[in-house]
């Protein structure tokens, strides 16, 4: 059989074979084309398709870091961040949805609500006019803010209304629970993020923290792809900043100085309280202090901290520095006798006192006790010009304290060769030189602390998010005068109260040392001359072991300058401070240097 059909069969077989081969070749070519394309797409990613795809799916989300709190020395919160919601709407969605479904929890079933009813519900929740809300929700804008900084419970109620196109957006809001108490010190934020004043500004970096990031892939259906990239960089919350302030005393002092300034119709006033032993600032009170919740509520010039920003001519409080220098240099002692004429002339410059007197025989203590310019110039002229300059500089005049507040003034202390003929003597009683209240307090602190000056501290520590407290180390202290000189000067200051003219600084039960200062305030309108006074009083207590220094300053009070006094304000603040810190009443015999020489 096979032999019979031999030739034709072979022919047929070869044709089939050829067809098969051609078909196979075709298939292989197709396979090669498809495989090659696959290799190009998958292996080489020509055209960046895979990369584009990943880029489309990858979704980065920023995880915000929580801003740290600002606390006072007792942990009272002065600034913290809370969750608030902005209610925003997509007008397109709302306008094009005439009715929508909603779950009614009262009847436990779904109901259909018309757009008008929905807007009415939303208006009553937000407390706005339905007509105005309808206008706000009609149009083709994709983003309209309906309400800002809504509280969580209201946000919850609004989201339950499930109005189409209306969503809430979580935001962080800074609140200041104590308002204007220490408002100037704390400062405020711009746009809720960046510190614009006070501690919020200077400590912005520490408070801010580092925002985290999450990168994940998301599908076209809006769901996260479970096994794909998911990188999480957790946010690092900001540190808390703990201040040395005491909120209760701060309030007490702010109220006291506000009353005083109101009574005297003064331009401004401020009070500083400092712990002698540590340099910690306990109170920095200002009048018309801003409420950081609404900083625009006060005038721009009231938004800072005047105790550090305002440099003015201190007046007679500077006589303490002159006396310290003279005693330390061995040029005088507290009971040295000076014969003081009604007017004292030196180098052609005549100096008089605030009160009329004949020729008197006074002690150095008596000169300070009655705050006599004549006597001070007499004592101070025993020092050379360079010595006067060096001693002012040593006591920190012309050197800004660095406590972490913006624009701290360093005052003006001209070089001795730039002093004019009169200025070389006026600097002895605090005219022709300017300094901030804190600089005065720091100078008195060095005398109170046995001659060692501690740099003032406002920021006590930083508290990390895990609760670890990082103390801010105290700056280097320096010796200004010897322990003996400091004691003599303190006795002079105490005699000012016991024997001199500052009797009203006395606090029942405590030995107090004090000095007043009255100086002419230069005009601020650019014209030469003076247009008012700066009245200040600085005191320390208890004198057997000084713990606290209080200074009260009132700028440009109205009325007769010799009729006004900061005594009662200082007394009440000092008394309150001593009692708050449970300082035991004084022991020992109060210093009573005679004011007149025998």
């Amino acid at each position: 059989m096979a032999q019979n059909s031999g030739k034709s069969k072979t022919k047929k077989a070869s044709t089939a074979k050829r067809r098969l081969r051609v078909g196979l070749g075709l298939m292989l070519t197709l396979l090669l084309v498809v495989g090659g394309k696959l290799f190009l797409v998958q292996g080489l990613d020509v055209g960046g398709m895979a990369e584009a795809g990943i880029n489309k799916r990858l979704t980065p989300v920023e995880l915000p870091a929580e801003r740290g709190q600002i606390l006072d020395a007792n942990g009272t919160v002065l600034a913290s961040s809370v969750i608030r919601y902005d209610i925003v709407a997509d007008q397109r969605v709302n306008t094009n949805t005439p009715e929508f479904g909603r779950y009614n929890s009262a009847t436990a079933e779904a109901e259909t609500v018309s757009r008008e009813q929905g807007i009415k519900d939303l208006a009553s929740a937000l407390g706005t006019d339905p007509a105005a809300l309808t206008t706000a929700l009609t149009g083709d804008k994709p983003y309209v803010v309906l309400a800002r900084e809504v509280k969580p419970d209201l946000e919850d109620a609004i989201s339950k209304l499930s109005i189409p196109g209306v969503v809430s957006k979580a935001i962080s809001k800074r609140v200041y629970p104590n308002g204007s108490v220490a408002g100037g010190v704390i400062g405020f934020l711009q746009d809720g993020t960046t510190g614009q004043a006070g501690i919020e500004q200077t400590q912005d970096e520490a408070l801010r923290g580092t925002p985290g990031k999450r990168v994940f892939e998301i599908g076209a259906d809006g769901l996260r792809i479970p096994v794909a990239t998911d990188e999480l960089t957790p946010a690092v919350d900001g540190k808390d900043v703990k201040l040395t302030l005491n909120t209760d005393l701060q309030y007490f002092a702010q109220q006291a100085i506000q009353s005083q300034v109101n009574n005297l119709s003064a331009q401004w006033g401020s009070i500083v309280v400092m712990d002698v032993k540590t340099g910690n600032i306990i109170v920095m009170a200002d009048t018309n202090a801003p409420d950081p919740n609404n900083p625009g509520g006060v005038a721009p010039e009231d938004r800072g901290v005047r105790s550090v920003t305002a440099a003015y001519e201190p007046g007679s409080v500077e006589k303490m520095i002159t006396a310290s220098a003279a005693i330390e240099e061995g040029k005088a002692s507290p009971l040295d006798t000076f014969t003081i004429p009604p007017a004292y002339t030196i180098d052609g410059e005549t100096f008089t006192d605030a009160f009329d007197h004949g020729t008197e025989k006074r002690t150095l203590a008596g000169i300070l006790g009655w705050s006599m310019n004549t006597g001070t110039v007499m004592v101070g002229s025993r020092l050379s010009k360079q010595q006067r300059y060096d001693w002012l500089k040593k006591f920190g005049i012309g050197e800004a304290p660095d406590i972490g507040l913006p624009s701290e003034a360093k005052g003006i202390l001209a070089k001795p060769d730039q002093w004019d003929n009169r200025q070389q003597y006026t600097v002895l009683f605090g005219q022709g030189v300017s300094q901030s209240t804190l600089q005065t307090v720091r100078a008195y602190q060095s005398v109170a602390n046995d001659g060692v000056m501690l740099q003032p501290r406002l920021i006590d520590s930083y508290i990390t998010p895990d609760g670890k407290e990082e103390k801010v180390p105290a700056k280097e202290s320096r010796r200004i005068v010897s322990k003996e000189t400091a004691k003599k000067v303190r006795d002079i200051l105490e005699s000012n109260v016991t024997e001199g003219q500052i009797k009203e600084a006395a606090v029942d039960g405590y030995r107090v040392g004090a000095k007043t200062g009255t100086s002419q305030a230069p005009r601020e309108d650019g014209l030469p001359g003076f247009d008012g006074y700066t009245a200040s009083m600085v005191a320390m207590a208890p004198m057997d072991n000084p713990r606290f220094i209080v200074e009260v300053v009132v700028q440009r009070p109205k009325g007769n300058i010799y009729g006004i006094t900061n005594g009662p304000v200082l007394r009440s603040v000092l008394g309150q401070v001593l009692r708050t810190y449970n300082v035991p009443p004084s022991t020992g015999t109060p210093a009573r240097f005679p004011q007149f020489a025998k």
Partner: protein, 224 residues
């Protein structure tokens, strides 16, 4: 002689032949197992095996199902608990804020004034070690000027914590009696009701009280 017997005899031919180790006759012999007809394993025993396999499969599937259900139930729980956590965090924040608002010195002072309290001015001290009394404590007098009012914190939604201080009380300059106190309490209530009117009062020009919700200090109001 059988071949076995021949093998048993030492195969020594002549004295040149090596002596080979002897094999015991028993070791080489193997006892043949008697052959018999064996029945194959019965076919019906396969059915329980299949049932067993299906049982295992079903059990595995069921376990997976139960696991899945429990995981998704736990997921729902997790979502619910997370929502609860968020709600509680918000509530906690809200309550903390309220407490802070109550604690704010301004609000505390306003509340105290509303209750008719006045600050004492002169305080004394007793030293418990020496029993020495220093200072002369005097009772607080109603009617003394209570100093400037510091505006309460302007936090949205927190101003209702304490109503603004009454302006009437500091005017009475005599010591309070019970009847007076009652009358004053009534006054205070009336004041609280007549809040909008109070707001309209002229403010002191020198003091910016930030928002006007707090009455100006008495001594500063012109014409009074």
């Amino acid at each position: 002689m059988s071949t076995a017997a021949a093998k048993a005899t030492p195969s020594t031919v002549g004295n040149t032949a090596r002596s080979l180790p002897l094999r015991s006759p028993d070791t080489g012999r193997k006892v043949r197992t008697p052959l018999s007809v064996v029945h194959s394993t019965p076919g019906k025993r396969r059915v329980p095996f299949f049932v067993f396999c299906f049982g295992v499969l079903a059990a595995a599937l069921l376990t997976v199902l139960v696991l899945n259900i429990s995981v998704s139930t736990a997921q729902y729980n997790l979502v619910q608990l997370k929502a609860q956590d968020a709600t509680l965090t918000k509530q906690n924040q809200e309550l903390t804020q309220q407490r802070q608002a109550f604690e704010a010195p301004q609000n505390l002072a306003a509340k105290a004034a509303q209750l008719g309290m006045v600050a004492s001015t002169a305080k004394g001290q007793i030293n418990l070690e020496t029993l020495a009394i220093t200072g002369t404590a005097t009772p607080a007098l109603k009617g003394l000027s209570q100093g400037a009012v510091i505006a309460p914190p302007a936090i949205t939604g927190q101003l209702d914590v304490v109503p603004p201080a009454s302006t009437k009380e500091p005017l009475e300059s005599h010591a309070p009696s019970a009847a007076d106190a009652k009358a004053e309490a009534k006054d205070a209530k009336a004041d609280a009701k007549a809040k909008p009117e109070k707001k309209a009062e002229p403010k002191a020009p020198a003091v910016n009280l930030n928002g006007g919700s707090v009455p100006a200090p008495q001594q500063k109001v012109p014409g009074q």
